[in-house]
Amino acid sequence: MSIKSGKVIDGHPYIDVLVSPDGKASVKYTALVDTGFSGFISVPVIAASILGLKAHATSRYTLANGKLSDPIPLAFGYACLEGDLFVQGLICISENTSTIVGVDFLMRCGKALVLSSKGVVMLSEADLLASNKPKK
């Protein structure tokens, strides 16, 4: 079973991800896993510049307090956990200073997130389901 371990910093889960503009060259970021974020990945403006991400559209997101964010650029890009194949998604380019992984990343990459007092792991959802199948 493929398992990637992350770390918990100040009570928040972080995991290493690879982000790429083209599914080839990539940069590794330690990303905060935010299950309240419905998107794929959000990267800071400076990271988007380094990666060479090209914005294709704009959008907004609903903040936790119900208000709307300022408009943000969106770019097509790729991301994955180290050792996995890249998956394409819409990358939000935000004013935040951290790279953030959202629920769409888990869905597209087929990952389950396990958060415990000792740390955080991401594992293959398919492997997890297979291991829980009752044996005949």
């Binding site: 294709h56 959008s59 997101y61 609903t62 935040n96 959202g102």
Partner: protein, 92 residues
Amino acid sequence: MPDERISVTPSTRDIALRGEAIYEQKYQAEYEKTLRGKYVAINVNSSEAIVADTGEDAIRLALERDPDGFFHLVRVGHRAPFEAGWYMSCVD
């Protein structure tokens, strides 16, 4: 909504405001009757709307039609296509 085409290098805010104005004036009332939950890419130059099941598909289709276009993504019946978690909300 201004009539002139948007400038060659519009800001993120320019694109978003124009896209939202086009959506509200031309599409929102009709789409909210039948297309709730769908994603719409608004071409802010042509005012064309591309509807798809995902935001990614809406933008990809819109780019195929107009590779040089500027687009704003909305979600029918939602205030925004994405929801932010606590971190993004605190820093924004």
